[in-house]
């Protein structure tokens, strides 16, 4: 599918300076929407990134895994233009990001990128709908378009009844869903998610991840995910491990899962089940009860994907065409089709 989404959206100004080919420098591979070469970054002398190179393909879900302090957040901050790397290059859609001035990087962030953080970080005095509508408004949408997009995304994330409430009156998982809606509402090209499920319980975690990934698939949004949780990395197409500021070459999600699950799956399931008794199913309209633990493959050598007893509890499918609970009618609830 060609990336022509921004052309048919009335509220997107053309970002020609970003889409222009640079004749001098070698262009990145065509299918890499975002790539970086030899990024070096230090925070007041403490090295955070030591020569990280990464290529993010268009429309994929790429997980960067690693323990805390391994440089995941620094990498996401550099790639999203929030901070500049000390050395190295970042290219987005064949145009350089590392040479952009602050104002241009701000514009890139509000028009082309979305961000979900560990904490929801909503503006406390705005209602949920206003928080979500702020993203399209900042990206240049009209007020009506922004309100419509906000209402539709809140609907998709099962928090439509919270639209008029303020963050202080909401539960943490509701706030995080609103943060996800805010990251998606302006139709970004790339969504950066930095430990998006850290404050959530398992059921909410699975649901938020499913929605995020399904939205990315249906709208051809590239999702760059930083997580230390193997159960979240399971949703990715490719997984790149990070440690001490260095990044390994991304590998397929299945291989990564096999590599990160050394203990027998039955024992792992039993431990988790004994540690956490099953909870009653969530009463929110969308989800069906989730299995407490993801079921890893029976053996590392097995080549089939993780067993998926029900479509709704599975990690999202690898193609946009397979139906999920979210996208029975993508045209109806697509906020970007207004």
């Amino acid at each position: 599918m060609s990336r022509n989404r921004s052309a048919d959206q009335s509220f997107y100004r053309q970002k020609q300076h970003l889409d222009r080919e640079d004749p001098v420098t070698t262009a990145p591979p065509d299918n890499d929407v975002l790539w970086a070469r030899a990024l070096v970054k230090a925070h007041q002398g403490t090295p955070a990134l030591r020569g990280v190179s990464i290529g993010v393909r268009e429309g994929e879900v790429l997980a960067v895994t690693g323990p805390r302090g391994s440089g995941k957040t620094s990498l996401l901050d550099c790639l999203s233009g929030l901070s500049s790397p000390d050395q190295g290059e970042i290219w987005f859609n064949s145009s350089p990001v590392h040479t952009l001035a602050r104002a241009a990087r701000e514009r890139l962030r509000r028009e082309r990128f979305g961000y979900v953080g560990t904490e929801p970080h909503l503006v406390p005095e705005l209602t949920a709908a206003e928080n979500v509508a702020l993203a399209p408004l900042l990206a240049g949408a009209t007020r009506k378009e922004a309100a419509t997009a906000a209402a539709e995304w809140l609907e998709r994330l099962d928090v439509a009844d919270c639209a008029k409430l303020r963050p202080a009156e909401l539960r943490q998982d509701q706030r995080q869903r609103i943060a996800v809606a805010r990251a998606l509402a302006h139709g970004p090209s790339v969504v950066f998610a930095d430990e998006p499920t850290a404050p959530l319980h398992r059921e909410a975690r699975d649901q938020v991840m499913r929605i995020l990934v399904a939205a990315a698939r249906s709208h051809r949004i590239t999702l760059l995910l930083a997580t230390h949780d193997p159960a979240v990395a399971r949703y990715a197409d490719r997984v790149a491990a990070m440690a001490d500021g260095r990044l390994a070459t991304p590998i397929g999600a299945r291989q990564a899962l096999a590599a990160s699950a050394p203990q027998p799956p039955a024992a792992a399931g039993a431990t988790a089940a004994s540690a956490l008794p099953p909870k009653p199913p969530q009463t929110a309209p969308g989800p069906t009860p989730q299995p407490l633990t993801p079921q890893p493959p029976a053996s590392p050598a097995q080549t089939s994907p993780p067993p998926t007893p029900q479509p709704q509890t599975s990690p999202p499918p690898k193609t946009a065409k397979t139906p999920t609970s979210l996208e029975e009618d993508p045209d109806r609830c697509s906020p970007t089709s207004v």
Binding site: E119, V123, A135, L138
Partner: protein, 374 residues
């Protein structure tokens, strides 16, 4: 405790200016208190009823500036945890509990007050010993009590009032929940209750009606009472006015500037409205007092008015700084989203403009009521 006070070395200009403001206000109050003592000392003859009354009256005149210093200390102490949240988190992590943190803030304020008081005492002593001559030919002598020796215990007791009051006001002003590490998303929006709204409409309305009717009928005491009620009611209504203005700004489908300005005004209506109400009410009361009291009181009322104005404005400054810190935290996510700085500045400008309009309206109303009384 003294080790904690080393933290003050990290203070920046705003904190230091509040330190200096507190000290200066304390010095002025100390001078007023010592003047009352000087008058008491210099009156010839033994104690008499008239003498006691005159001394008491002079001490009573010290109460409004003392209240001003207490208010300033309270505002100052409240703004420290919100402005310096990183420091607070560090102290909490180091094991300082809520009691110790409050004590720390109280001691800090009390030290500023004590420094100012000592300065006032030094000035008083310099005037008494004629090292320094403000007014020629000994016209200040009766106020300085030069004929009697200064009783040390009375002086110390009188002067201890200022740091004690400042410290107590500071300790009482810091609520335990201010000392928790802040989480902006858990602060619920405070909406005006129906009872409060009714009071904010009825008290100034009825008070003004009573005042104007009494002024027309010529009953002075009723007019005064009605006027005071109306002025207090206007102060009561200032947060509601701010809230309403914010709601009006954010109604419909606003663009981001208007939305952020309006909602921000709503969220800060009480925090900002309270010092603005104090400013309005104290200004109007000062105008009433200036018109009502006989003008031959010397420079004392002017000094007191200036002192109180200084304290009220200082408290307002502290509150504005506190609100700015809060806003910076809650807008961090907007900057992460790429909101341009000019947008946030424009929202702040709109908010400041709306606040000024509300202040002008409330101040104008209070001034009109005060003028009708005079």
């Amino acid at each position: 405790m003294l080790a904690y006070l080393r933290l003050a070395r990290g203070y920046r200009a705003l904190d230091l200016s509040r330190w200096l403001l507190t000290a200066a206000a304390s010095a002025a109050v100390a001078a007023l208190l010592l003047r009352a003592l000087g008058w008491a000392l210099s009156t010839p003859g033994g104690p008499s009823a008239a003498h006691a009354w005159a001394t008491g009256a002079r001490l009573l005149w010290c109460l409004p500036p003392l209240a001003g210093v207490g208010y300033l200390a309270a505002a100052w102490a409240r703004s420290v945890p919100l402005r310096r949240s990183a420091r607070l988190t560090g102290l909490l992590a180091a094991g300082a509990g809520a009691v110790r943190l409050r004590a720390l803030l109280a001691v800090e304020i009390a030290l500023a007050c004590a420094a100012g008081t000592v300065l006032g005492l030094l000035g008083f002593l310099a005037l008494r010993s004629h090292l320094l001559e403000l007014v020629p030919a000994g016209r200040l002598d009766p106020a300085l009590g030069v004929r009697a020796s200064l009783p040390a215990a009375a002086t110390a007791t009188l002067l201890a009032v200022v740091p004690l009051l400042g410290g107590l006001a500071a300790a009482a002003a810091v609520r335990p929940r201010d000392l928790q590490p802040p989480d902006a998303s858990d602060v619920a929006l405070r909406r005006p209750s129906p009872l409060y709204l009714a009071a904010a409409v009825l008290v100034p309305g009825l008070g003004a009606a009573v005042e104007l009717a009494a002024v027309r009928a010529g009953t002075d005491l009723t007019a005064l009472l009605g006027g005071l009620a109306a002025i207090t009611g206007i102060g009561l209504a200032v947060p509601a006015l701010l809230y309403g203005t914010g709601m009006a700004l954010a109604c419909g489908r606003p663009r981001p500037v208007r939305l952020l300005a309006g909602r921000g005004l709503q969220a800060g209506a009480w925090q900002l409205g309270t010092p603005l109400a104090v400013l309005t009410v104290s200004g109007a009361l000062a105008a009433v007092a200036a018109a009502r009291l006989e003008p031959a009181r010397g420079p004392l009322p002017a000094v007191e008015a200036a002192l109180i104005a200084l304290c009220v404005l200082g408290a307002l400054l502290a509150r504005v700084a506190e609100l700015m810190g809060e806003r910076r935290r809650s807008y961090a996510s907007l900057q992460r989203m790429g909101a341009p700085g000019v947008l946030l500045r424009r929202a702040a400008l709109v908010r400041a403009g709306a606040t000024t309009l509300v202040l002008l309206a409330a101040g104008g109303g209070a001034a009109a009521l005060a003028a009708a009384l005079g």
